[in-house]
């Protein structure tokens, strides 16, 4: 009964979305306030209905209702509650439902927070948002209904892939989708602006917080995914240039570029067409990612061809959205002429340069990801893997990161490059020191080690220099500097933190990517192995049972120069429902690197296979991502975004609402 109610609510939401698309868009065209006014309540109703529907599916999973096909295929009665809940989106049907739920909630949020948007812009934005909803709701209802019944209902479910039964991965998809789908708002705003025929500073200010929110979520999602790979897959890898990873990385690149070009529109009233273009591209990448992951086209073109229903549906949807929006852009985009002129050496110029580099990076990733598909068409079977991406993508990012430190020090319109470089002497010194350190401590010679650390140091110190400039450190009294520090707008803090976080993350990627130390062997209890100066002593293994798995647990004592450092306990789990093992690496994060131990299979002579690692700086990667996200969130709380946009139509007296 509850399942049918959920299904019914989903059908109803499709009709609400149709209304929300039709009336406000037509109303905006006819300048009819009543029709435009439908948008906000419809967005609210749509979000409510889909939330109810999602709640019903969650109920089916939580109560292990094995008369529902999706529950049978992806759940089991013995699963811990957390994974019963995460099982809702741990499968195709449920994850698409989560997708539209987030889409509808974002739409509702625009209706809620955008009370003072110009009525026609708001109506059009919500109308476009509803059009996307229509497409995806139809996709779910016609090809991927999560409420399909399994008749006869089996006694128990088939369980969930044990790799997915992990807290990191339980929350990875929601964050990723919040990011993916969040770009839909920027997209809807961009399409609405194209229809209206104008993009101005106010428009950029409305778009920025939504983009920033989506970007923050996507950053968390990607970081969670790589963190999960790091500790769960058992060999310390964290990024594989897997097509599914690429699918989330491309929108991130485009979104990052969009975030920065929107600043230029807001402050300088230029780069408008480019910004609108990026908003379309960012969401197109999100849709493409959804298509790549959901159609199965990546596993094999043949798998796609044998069950093409879903794939073709999303492909058509993708073509309509992308084709339609680019056509609209080609038609209306040229009218969006920018006002402010600028020199190549200026803050706009450097932002544009980095926009370009990031976009090329995204295109290259796209190209490499899709190339094997095209090659199959001419009957050439090939792979494009990590070596290709590292070779092509990483060099593109070197000038980008180098510019990143300089750009904030250049002034708008016309910058003084020698002056900026002069002020960056400290950053240059830091980079030189980083190269020296990298060469001195390196266990392996590698070009990328010194380059990576130098870039990280350059960017970190460059960010600090910019902060010091801002508060006029040493050029005025310390009290005055402190006062300036206290009065810095949160958006400025956001940029400083995000850039600094990026530097920290680059250091982490470099350390872990270049200088990982690995030792694979069999060990008997009492055996010791020295890994990068840390002595791992295997204390022995024991067996046990978890809620829905059995495990072997191995204990390692780690010492350095005879001093105890930590005790690591790693598990190898077997999930009987799927008959699959997983490894739970034991990790101790130290400031300069992670101690990482994995227990493997028992050998015939009573010893165990073990993998022991020292992963230098690896935790910095996620720490850096967290700092970036913190910067994003801090920026979102900036007064200007909370009150700036809504204040557009209010009298000045009301410009200071009590919040």
């Amino acid at each position: 009964m509850i399942v049918e109610a959920g299904h019914f609510a989903l059908i109803l939401s499709l009709f609400v979305a149709l209304v929300q698309a039709a009336l406000p868009l037509a109303g905006a065209q006819r300048n009819d306030p009543a029709w435009m006014g439908v948008a906000a309540p419809a967005a609210f109703a749509q979000a409510l209905l889909i939330a109810f529907s999602f709640g019903c599916l969650t109920y089916a999973f939580v109560t292990s209702d094995f008369s529902v096909a999706a529950v049978v295929a992806n759940s089991h009665s013995t699963k811990p509650m957390l994974y019963k809940v995460s099982g809702v989106w741990g499968n195709h049907e449920g994850s698409m439902l989560l997708w539209v739920l987030i889409l509808a909630v974002f739409g509702w949020a625009v209706a809620l927070f955008g009370r003072n948007l110009p009525p026609s812009l708001k109506a059009r934005t919500l109308g476009i948002q509803a059009l996307i909803s229509v497409g995806f709701l139809a996709f779910i209802l016609f090809t991927s209904n999560p409420f399909d019944r399994a008749i006869p209902a089996p006694f128990d479910g088939r369980g969930m892939n044990p790799l997915l039964q992990d807290p990191g991965l339980a929350f990875h998809p929601p964050f990723l989708y919040l990011g993916y789908v969040g770009f839909s708002i920027a997209f809807s705003f961009a399409i609405a602006a194209l229809i209206e025929g104008r993009v101005d500073a106010a428009w950029a200010r409305w778009v920025r917080p939504w983009t920033l929110a989506a970007w923050s979520f996507l950053t968390i999602g990607i970081a969670l995914g790589s963190w999960w790979a790091y500790y769960e897959l058992g060999w310390g890898g964290w990024w594989f240039w897997d097509p599914v990873e690429n699918a989330s990385f491309m929108p991130w690149l485009a979104g990052t570029a969009l975030l920065h070009s929107a600043v230029v529109v807001e402050k300088r009233d230029t780069m408008k067409a480019w910004t609108v273009f990026l908003a379309i591209v960012a969401f197109s990448f999100s849709l493409l990612g959804t298509f790549l992951v959901r159609s199965g086209v990546l596993t094999s073109v043949h798998a796609f061809a044998t069950d093409p229903e879903r794939g073709v549906f999303i492909l058509v949807l993708l073509l309509i959205v992308v084709g339609g929006s680019f056509a609209l852009f080609a038609w209306r985009g040229p009218q969006l002429t920018g006002g402010g002129l600028f020199r190549p050496i200026s803050r706009e110029g450097s932002l544009l340069l980095n926009n370009l580099l990031m976009s090329i990076g995204a295109v290259v990733v796209l190209f490499g990801t899709l190339f094997p598909l095209f090659a199959q068409v001419v009957d050439y079977k090939m792979s494009v893997g990590a070596p290709f991406f590292n070779r092509v993508f990483v060099p593109l990012m070197v000038p980008m990161i180098a510019t990143m430190a300089v750009a904030p020090l250049l002034s708008w319109k016309r910058g003084d490059l020698p002056g900026a470089m002069g002020r960056l002497w400290a950053a240059g010194a830091a980079a030189a020191a980083a190269v020296a350190v990298a060469i001195a401590v390196a266990t392996k010679t590698s070009v990328w080690g010194p380059i990576g650390l130098a870039l990280a140091a350059w960017l970190a110190m460059g960010t600090v220099v910019e902060l010091a400039e801002r508060i006029r450190l040493f050029r005025t009294s310390p009290a005055e500097s402190l006062r300036r520090l206290g009065r810095m707008p949160r958006a400025a803090w956001g940029m400083t933190l995000a850039h600094f976080g990026m530097a920290v993350a680059i250091a982490g990627m470099t350390g872990a990517g270049v200088w990982k130390v690995e030792s694979i062997q069999t060990m008997k209890p009492g055996d010791s192995v020295n890994v990068a100066g840390y002595v791992y002593t295997f204390k022995g293994a024991s067996e046990g049972r978890g809620p829905n798995y059995s495990y072997i647990s191995g204990v390692f004592d780690v010492t350095r120069n005879g001093q105890p450092v930590t005790t690591l306990e790693s598990e190898k789990r077997i999930y009987p429902v799927r008959g699959m093992p997983t490894t739970e690496a034991a990790i101790e994060s130290l400031f300069l690197g992670d101690l990482y131990a994995v227990i493997g299979d028992p050998q015939e002579d009573g010893s165990f296979a073990t993998r022991l690692y020292f992963n230098p700086l690896v935790a910095w990667m996620w720490a850096g991502a967290l700092i970036m996200v913190f910067g994003g969130v801090l920026s979102l709380t900036d007064r200007r975004y909370r009150v700036g946009a809504p204040v557009r139509r209010r009298p000045p007296a009301a410009a200071q609402p009590a919040e």
Partner: protein, 156 residues
């Protein structure tokens, strides 16, 4: 080829994965083992999604790892090992695509994108310089006032 792939996929689903590189498959000579690891990182586990055999725990990846080590032990050079693996599995097994006619577009693509980007940028500044001073769409008084109010909060 289709049937082979399908068989491989099925094999992957049935076989219980062991961990990635296992101690028992490793070579005793660290130099040879390091060569094997470096080669493995560029070989694709045929049944996985873009995972190298060095990272994969699929049974088939293990077979390939053992094969690579056998060839290295037999005295093959790195190129000979790779050629041997490619002769058996085709270019599909290479994660780092070879330079050849079919991959010309792949390796050339990024360079072309970069050049196009730079060209576009140069064009942009040229056109900008040419149309400098062109009239902008004026804002109405009301809009100007609203904009001023919005921008007033901005830090310099």
């Amino acid at each position: 080829m289709t049937r082979l792939l399908l068989a491989l996929l099925l094999a992957c689903a049935v076989v219980l994965p062991a961990a990635a590189v296992e101690p028992d498959e490793m070579l005793h000579d660290p130099a040879l083992e390091q060569r094997a690891r470096d080669l493995s990182a560029n070989l694709r586990c045929l049944v996985c999604q873009n995972q190298s055999i060095d990272d994969s725990n699929a049974e088939l990846a293990r077979d390939l790892r053992v094969l690579v080590r056998e060839r290295i032990s037999a005295g093959d050079s790195d190129d000979q090992v790779m050629d041997y693996v490619v002769s058996r599995y085709g270019d599909f097994v290479l994660l780092n695509p070879p330079f050849k006619l079919q991959t010309l577009a792949l390796w050339g693509g990024p360079v072309v994108f970069l050049l196009l980007g730079i060209l576009g940028l140069v064009q942009f500044y040229r056109r900008r310089a040419a149309t400098a001073g062109a009239a902008q769409a004026p804002l109405s008084d009301d809009e100007r006032k609203r904009l001023d109010r919005l921008m007033r909060d901005d830090a310099p």
